[in-house]
Every structure is written in structure tokens, then in C-alpha cells.
Assembly symmetry: C2
DNA sequence: CCAAACCAATCAATCGTTTGATTAGTTTTG
DNA sequence: CAAAACTAATCAAACGATTGATTGGTTTGG
């Protein structure tokens, strides 16, 4: 059946995504992936052409979910610049499932000097999110919501960097916070709300000099 | 001569550090490293025992320079909490030489599943810096310099995360900033001062609700 | 029956590592 | 002092293991 084939390919991609993000592209072997997925090794090449093709397929499956991330918040005229920013933060934090190893995958491969044809594509996608935020900042400056002398580019680095730090260094983050960050319950009930609150307060105080942190 | 031997080992370590951080541990081959270093392949095992031993040696050479990073700023009673924090920021930013690939190395291997007994050692070292900052924050809260309701742990994530983001994603950062972040001149003359200013303003507004950003 | 799906066996290439020989410099010995 | 013994450094070559990829044939489903 066609359904089964898709399910099987999807299962392989699931396993590949996990193994790649645990061991990196070079560290993961096709035998390991096929073994854990319970399929013959030749199937990987049969379905995806090559190891690189498999890696690429892992990405392309996720790309769509990434692109929906930027749901044109910036173009909504009805809400203020700050509310847009708050919406973005909520969005990013909600999607910040540490177990989702895809983020680690991206960050690791982006930090490599090694050049994929993929690197440009990843860069391009990430830049869309960057530009989305930048637009909000610039709009906020223009309409007087935000201070004039802020540094939008570095703010973006702060937003993404803080999130990545938690994801990429879970050992450190767990030690810092006193709880295992990979614990789903803790993450969902305790950490995410705390992280949202913090991020909003941090940005608000920098952007607006507003002392009223209505909690 | 003994001096020559040390120089040679150091040269191998220099090359290994660069290659490892460009290609990752798995991506880098001993042949490549020995080739670029201009030494026979067997010398790597002769000097360092194994590829893993070489990787370990790269780390241990840097560890000392890392440990001097925390020069007991926190224990200086004569300066205010905020000044301590400013000093820390200056310190970190000054050492943030993007060309120094060691940071990338650490971040990449830390994001991997625990492959090394070394992971614990790296964690330990990084935690010292974390604790140093934490101490400053807590002291500042206690003596009234900082607001009571700040989130010290996530602030630390912001400080390190923002820095790491620039280092780990130089492509993105360069596109964002409109200049190649790896350009030494731009980095030193333009970026570092800008980054320091931004970081201090960001922290100050969050920590102290101080609107006087005396620029 | 035929094409698609699947698999065991195998490919050449590359991996990290080891080997045995050679060199050069130092120490020991007669 | 000079010959002999020893040591560390270096090298080309080869090792077994593993890599990603491919083959040729078998099974399966429509």
C-alpha cells in the first residue's frame, strides 16, 4: 500500500533525525540508522539515494513546519508592535521542545565550516525569522513604541541565543535550574511559563523603559 | 632539543584545534590533521596515543586559559555589584575572538549526547563561570543594587547564549549585521564596542530599571 | 506476470592504528 | 677518546575494521 510506504519512509526519517542529532552527520552511520529503524541498509539508498540525501530529507520534512512558524504576525495592522513581539516569543517558546532534536541538528551543522548546499538553504530559512523580528523592531521604533536607540540586530541574537543556549547545553541548563530540563512535565509546567515571563520582562525593560512589570 | 619538541606538539595542537572545530571530531581525519600540520601520521599516535587523546590534549591545553577567565571578580569587596557585572561582560566580550574556534568546539561537543568522559569536565569548567555570575546577581539582589524579582539563571543563559549565537552562527550573524563577523578589523573596532554597549544597556535596564543610559 | 519493494552479499574507499626500519643524538663502556 | 649500546623521533607501508554505496537476485502485491 502507498500509505505503508509513506509510513515506513517517515519512520526511517524519525530514526534518522534522532540519530543524526545525537551523533552528528559524520558520527551517525547508515548501518546504525537502518538497524535502529529495523530496515535493510540498502533501503536507505533505495529511498533517499544517499546518506546526504537522507540527511536532506530529514530537513525538508521539517522545513514546512518551520515556515509556518512565521505566520505573518508582522503584517497584522491591528495589534501593537509590543503585542507582536509577545506573540513571537510565545510562539518560539512553545515550539522549544527540547526533546525535538532538530534544533540541535541545525545549530551543529551551521557551526561547521563544512559547506553543504544545504547550509545556504538553512541560512535562508533562519533569516526569514530574523527578518520577521527585525521588521517588528523597526516598526516599533518608527511608531514610537520602542526607544530610538535600541540595537535590533543584537536583540535578535539575544532572543535566539538564549533559547539555543538552553537547548544546546541541556546539561548546563539543568544544573543551573536545579531540574532536568528534559523532563517533559517540568518543561511544560514550570520552565516554559518562567521563560516567557523572563523574556518579556527583559525585552520590555530594554525596549520601553517600562517599570510596570504587571505580573 | 626539548623546545622544538614542544613547539612541534603545539603546532599539531594548533592545527588539530582548527580542523576539529571546522569539521567536528568525526569529520576530521587523522590523515587530514597530520597532513595540514606537515607531520607524519604516526606522530599523532606517537605523541597523543590516539585520536581521542589528541582531541583531549587540545582541550587540556586551553583549560588553563579558561580558568584564568574567572579572576575572582566576585570576591572584590571594593566595587559594586553592577561594576562587577560590567567587568565580567568586558572580559567575556574581549575574549570572544570568533577566529578562536575553541568555543565552537565546546558547544558542538556539548550538544552531542554524552560521548566523552570529558563532557563532565567541560560542564564543570563552564559551571564555574555560571556560578561566578550567579554570585554577583545574588549579591546585587541582597544589597539592593538589583531588583528583587529578576531571574538570575535565565539572565546567565542570555549572556552566554547571545555570545554563543554570534560565534556559532557566523553566517547568520554576518548577514544580520551587514558585515563579515570574521573580519578581525570590523570585529575589534566596530562589533566588540557595540556588543559591550548593548549588553550593558540590556542588563542594566532589566536589573535596575534605570532609564539613564548615559552614552 | 511485472514492476516495485526488499534483502544478503559484496564493493572500493577510507578510517584510526600499528608495524618494522631508519635516522640522529646521547650515554655508556673499554 | 672512540667504539658500542641505547633512546627518542620519524617515516613509509600495511593492518583490520568500518564506511557509504551497489549488485544481483528474491519476494511481494496489484
Amino acid at each position: 500500500m502507498d500509505k505503508d510506504k509513506i509510513d515506513k519512509k517517515d519512520h526511517i526519517l524519525d530514526v534518522a533525525e534522532r540519530v543524526f542529532s545525537d551523533l552528528g552527520f559524520d558520527g551517525a552511520s547508515t548501518r546504525m540508522i537502518s538497524g535502529e529503524a529495523g530496515v535493510n541498509m540498502a533501503m536507505l539508498n533505495y529511498y533517499f539515494g544517499s546518506k546526504e540525501g537522507l540527511f536532506l530529507a530529514v530537513f525538508e520534512r521539517k522545513i514546512s513546519s518551520f515556515q509556518t512558524l512565521l505566520q505573518n504576525i508582522g503584517n497584522d495592522e491591528s495589534i501593537s508592535s509590543w503585542d507582536k513581539l509577545e506573540k513571537c516569543i510565545d510562539n518560539y517558546v512553545d515550539r522549544m521542545i527540547v526533546n525535538n532534536c532538530f534544533q540541535k541538528l541545525i545549530n551543529r551543522e551551521m557551526s561547521m565550516g563544512k559547506r553543504w548546499d544545504l547550509t545556504d538553504k538553512i541560512t535562508e530559512i533562519l533569516m526569514i525569522n530574523v527578518m520577521e523580528l527585525k521588521k517588528i523592531f523597526e516598526e516599533g521604533i518608527k511608531n514610537g513604541s520602542f526607544r530610538k536607540d535600541i540595537d535590533p540586530e543584537l536583540m535578535i541574537a539575544t532572543i535566539f541565543g538564549t533559547k539555543n543556549y538552553i537547548i544546546n547545553a541541556p546539561h548546563i541548563a539543568s544544573l543551573m535550574l536545579g531540574h532536568d530540563i528534559r523532563d517533559e512535565k517540568f518543561l511544560e509546567e514550570k520552565f516554559k511559563p518562567r521563560f516567557k515571563t523572563y523574556m518579556k520582562q527583559l525585552l520590555k525593560s530594554y525596549l520601553m523603559n517600562d517599570n510596570d512589570y504587571n505580573k
